[in-house]
Symmetry: C2
Subunit: 368 residues, 2 copies
């Protein structure tokens, strides 16, 4: 049920974690090649440059594994690591909320680059390799590893800039979380992050287009995380039953797929619960329905194509916990049960509407 | 009911058309000021530079009015003109589909810049003003107008590059439309546009960040317009009744707003038809409900807050025409009537689902 990016390619699986590369990466290669050629590089210069980029991104991958392995210590599984031209991204199914654990996870990435830098430094010192002047525009066998040493120092230092949701920003949030409620700590760290992101965009406009992209990513990332923790905070006092949808028509496993298609086209719902003997038996999202329609046609029984591996929420459960679970695992719909009986469903859009309605009512009370 | 951008400021109304300026424009000002200062400009140089940018964007505004006034000749109303740092944007409630009319509308913009350029050229020639060397980095009273002459030539020529949806691309589409069905002409022009857009991004990465943004805009714009005409083509054989929603619960004007709020939270719908004596009396979108909740509270009767100025579709009407109307006027929901009686509703999401289901069924038939 996890959404996979169409825009990235699976490179393989290491320690149970899928490593993926984003297609924009090839733009980076092309860009570097063209810039290099236009500055008079020959073929071997260009190959050296590409080898250097690969070496740097190998270190970025190790950086992400630093986060992933530390998070694993605290019981948080990493789903995949994606390499983007502007850095790496580790997606976890949940993050440790204990501030000191969160700080250790955030620091583990830059720490990896620091360790690599120290190893390179010692090795180069023993071989008198650090006497070379480092010219990033013209790499050769002599200065390849000195340049890689510098790159790792830069990676460690840059990631420690307190621009949430970058590593340094996560450290800042963890520090704030020791004194403040989590949503407030996130809001402050997010504000600092957005401020620095704007600086990045400005500086990038003059010096480096990649910094512009990094700035935009940080700005949006900070907004998304701040909104998420704010929503979670606002949901904390409610039960799942408070925000669940009662008005819905469950499908039956023995019905043909055409029944689901009719429900999709004839009403507002685009995700459905399949019910058997008053218990939830599966779910159907629009994507599942369309895929099944393509491969099986209209007459296949729903039982054969429905997603049986789904999560269920208890009516009396806490809404913020359900919201967290749905967000972190990309779940769009959850059947709600009382005992084992299906009594409703929650979906992300409705939880958002619940919050909007609460805010509008609070706003009205303030006015009157 | 028109969505207005939160990110732009109303400058005023000329010939019934609202002229708006996007906030990112101020980034352009700041950028030019900082770059200028860092290159040793003094205050009067900077002011001259800002005056020049304003003069250029005045010409861009005239360019957009060229489109708007020509479109008006063919009965197409322009809603507003927005100035972005990368150019202007005229939003029309519909576009002429007659190829030669479309071509005239597309050409009217660059033609305005050509006329300005010719006027400046003649005037400068009579005053020996064209002998000055034009240095865009250092404008002064002497070369201000020669530079403006060059800028208008560039505006005319650049906009005629056949990168759909830019002006030149619209001319290309109009030419193709004379021989081909509209959706095919759009697909070809869109493909050419996206190819040129990628070139813009690449060239921009080396020379000018604004060209990167223009490239991204063109790429997305070409995709959106191609998808739109493709959808419209696929919908042409259907009636509105084929894709309408039957499963919905209309609200009643005398009910309190709380009934709409309950319907919003308790079900999948987020937009509602209000029905009186079996006829549609108004519509309620989520946005209207939330706004009404903020200002009036839960007890206000729906009749007082519903949108009474709405469009209605006939059950036997053509689906592609309804789709076009909804797209061009930002309508998200339309009550469907038979005679005067409310029989269903159509919304954009459901029309999209209708197309997806058709495509999936066609795909399945191809396989079997």
């Amino acid at each position: 049920m996890n959404k996979k990016s169409k825009w990235s390619i699976n490179l393989g699986r290491i320690a149970g974690i899928e490593v993926r590369i984003h297609w924009t990466f090839f733009i980076l290669f092309l860009y570097v090649l063209i810039v290099g050629r236009s500055q008079g590089q020959n073929l071997s210069d260009s190959l050296m440059m590409l080898a250097f980029i690969l070496a740097v991104f190998f270190c970025v991958t190790l950086h992400e594994f630093g986060h992933a392995l530390m998070a694993k210590k605290f019981g948080c599984k990493t789903r995949d690591i994606t390499l983007l031209p502007i850095g790496g991204l580790a997606r976890m199914n949940r993050l440790p909320e204990n501030p000191s654990q969160e700080m250790l996870v955030a620091l583990a990435g830059p720490f990896v680059n620091l360790v690599i830098a120290v190893i390179l430094y010692v090795w180069l010192s023993l071989n008198d390799g650090l006497t070379e002047l480092i010219d990033f525009a013209k790499l050769d066998a002599e200065n390849f590893f000195p340049a890689l040493f510098v790159a790792n120092v830069v990676l460690a230092v840059f990631n420690l800039i307190p621009a949430f949701p970058m590593d340094g920003g996560r450290v800042l949030r963890a520090l704030l979380s020791m004194r403040l409620p989590r949503h407030k700590a996130t809001r402050i760290a997010g504000g600092v992050g957005q401020f620095i992101a704007i600086l990045f965009v400005f500086i990038g406009l003059f010096y480096n287009p990649f910094l512009v992209f990094i700035g935009v990513f940080i700005f949006l990332g900070a907004q998304i995380e701040t909104d998420y923790y704010q929503s979670k905070y606002l949901l904390r006092t409610f039960r799942i039953g408070d925000a669940m949808i009662h008005q819905f028509k469950p499908l039956h496993p023995s019905e043909p797929l055409s029944a689901a298609v009719n429900a999709l086209l004839d009403g507002h719902a685009s995700e459905f619960v399949v019910q058997d003997n008053s218990e939830p038996a599966g779910i159907l999202t629009r994507k599942i329905i369309l895929e099944a329609l393509k491969t099986h046609g209209l007459d296949v029984p729903i039982s054969q194509v429905m997603e049986k591996n789904f999560s269920v929420a208890e009516e009396e459960g806490l809404l913020d916990k359900a919201y967290e679970k749905m967000r972190m695992n990309n779940i769009s719909i959850m059947p709600v049960v009382k005992g084992k009986k299906l009594v409703g469903l929650i979906d992300m859009e409705n939880i958002m509407e619940f919050l909007l309605v609460r805010a509008a009512i609070a706003n009205n009370k303030k006015l009157s």
